[in-house]
Amino acid sequence: MTIEHILVLTYLVGCIGIGILASRKVLVSREEYWVAGRRIGTFVNAMAIMAALASGGSIIGVMGLAYGRGIPYTLALFAGAVVGFPLASILIAKPLRNFGKFTITDFLADRYPHPIVRYAVPSIIVVSFTVYIVAQMKAAGITANALLGIPYNQAVTLATVVFIVYVSIGGMVAITWTDVVQGVLMLLVVLGTAVALMFQFGTPTTLIGEAARRAPEIGQVVHMPLASYLGSFVIWAAAISVIPHIVMRVFTAKDARGARLSLNVAMIIYSIMILGAVLVIVPYGKTAFPDLTDADQIFLRVIQREFPPLIRGLAVAAVLAAVMSTTDALLLACSSAISHDLLGHVIEKKFSPKTGSRITVGMTWVIGLVAMILAYSPPKLITEFYSAAIGLLSAALFVPTIAGIWWKKANLSGGIASLVIGAGVYLAVQFTPGTPPLSAILFALPASAVAMAIFGAIGRPNAPEMVEKMAHLHSS
C-alpha cells in the first residue's frame, strides 16, 4: 500500500467516523437531521456552502471545461455562479431564513398551496440532482483510477458507499462537519498547486500567453455560439437562489444576518479557488498536455507530472472531498425531496419519528445506489452535463420563488403557470435538435416570467393574510 492509498483511506474512515459521531445527535428529531438544529455559525456555514458548491465539477470539471471549451466560456459559467451568491444573499437569504422551514419545496408549497407544486417541485429536484450526483461520481472514479490505479467502477462504488453511510446516519450535522474539512482540503490543494506552478512557471498572464501561442483557441470566444456563453452564465446566476442544497444551508444558519454573511463569505473563497484553477493550472496543463482525449483528466495529469506521491495522495483526497462535499449535500436534498416533501405527511402521520428517520436513511441509500449505477456509464464534460440539469431547476423554480418573495401579486395561478411553463419550455428547447448547449434557459426564464405576469394579473388575488405573511418575512 502506497502513501497515496493510506492518505485516502484515512480520509474515508474519518468521514465515516464523523457520520457515526453525528448520528447520536441527529436521528432524534427532524430539525436536527435536516437543518442541524439551526445553530451553524457564520464561518462554518460559509465554508460548508463553498464546499457544497465546489464539487468534483469545480475541481475536475472546471479545468476540463476550460481545457476543452476555452477559458472565457468556463469563466462565463462560473462567474454566473459567483454572481448568483449576492443575488441569493439579497433576494432570498433573509426571507427564507425567517420562513424557518426545511426545504425550498416547503416555501413554494406554502406560498402556492396546490398539489401540483407540492409534487412537481420535489420531482424536478430529484431528476436534476440525480444527474448532478452521477457527474460527481464520474469525478471520483476517474481520479481514483488515474492516481491510485483503482478500476473506475470499483472507485465509484467505494466513494458512493462511504458518503451514503455518513449522510444517511449523520444528516446535516455530519455534512457540515465533513464539508468544513473537505472545503479546507480542496482549497489547500487547488491553491497550493496554482501557487507552486506560478513560482515555477510565471504569472497567469505569462501562462495563458504561452498556452495561447501553442493553442490559440484556449483564450478565444469561438468554441460555442454566444447563446451558450450567456446561457451558462444565466443558469448558475439563477440557480444559486433556488438550488436546494444551498437553500438548505440558509435554513441551518443561526439567523437571517448569519445566512446572508455566510453566502457572501462563501462566494469570495469560491471565486479565489476557481480563478486559481482556470487562470493558472489550466494554461499550464494546456501547454504541457495539448492533446488530451478526455479533457476532464487535465488536473490529474498536472498533479502526476509535477508533484511527489504525498501531494498526489492529498490531491486524490481533495478531489474526493470536492465530490463528497457536494454529493452528500445533494443526497440529503434529494432524500429530503422524497421523504420530507413528497412523503412527509404520510410518514409523520403513520410512523414514529424513529421509523420516519429510518425511512429517510433508506431513501438516501436508494438514490445513491441508482446514481451509482448510472455513473458506471459516465458522461463527457461533466460540468456541461450537470449544468444542463441545474438549468431545469433554475427554469422551473427561479421565477416562482423570487416573485413569491418580492411581488405582492404573485398568486396561486401565477405560481403554478410559471413553474410548469418554465420547466416545459426548458425541456422542449433543450431536446430540440440543433439547440446550442445550455441556451434553453434563455427561452425558459422569460417564458416563466411572462406566465407569472399574465396569470398573476388574471388569476384570483392573494388573500390579505398571505401578503401579510410575506411582508413579515421581509420585516422580521
Binding site: I71, P72, L75, I90, T205, G209, W407, K408, K409
Partner: protein
C-alpha cells in the same frame, strides 16, 4: 401603492450594476480584443468574479456597522 416589497437602495443599486456590467461584457466588442492571449471577455468575467463578491461583502458589513451604531 407598490406591488413589490421594498428593497434597500444599496441592494437595488448593486443588482442593477451587476446586470449592466454583465450586459456590457457579453456584447461582441469584448470578444475580439485580446490581452495576454485571452479575449477581453474572459478578463471581464474574471473581474466580475473578484469584484462582485468583494463589493457585496463590503456593502453588507457597512450596513451592519451602521445598524450597530
Amino acid at each position: 401603492m407598490s406591488h413589490f416589497f421594498p428593497m434597500k437602495r444599496s441592494d437595488r443599486g448593486y443588482l442593477i450594476s451587476i446586470l449592466i456590467f454583465a450586459f456590457v461584457a457579453f456584447l461582441p466588442w469584448s470578444h475580439r480584443i485580446r490581452f495576454s492571449g485571452m479575449a477581453l471577455f474572459g478578463w471581464l468575467m474574471a473581474a466580475l468574479m473578484v469584484f462582485s463578491p468583494a463589493i457585496a461583502l463590503f456593502q453588507f458589513l457597512l450596513s451592519r456597522n451602521r445598524k450597530t451604531k
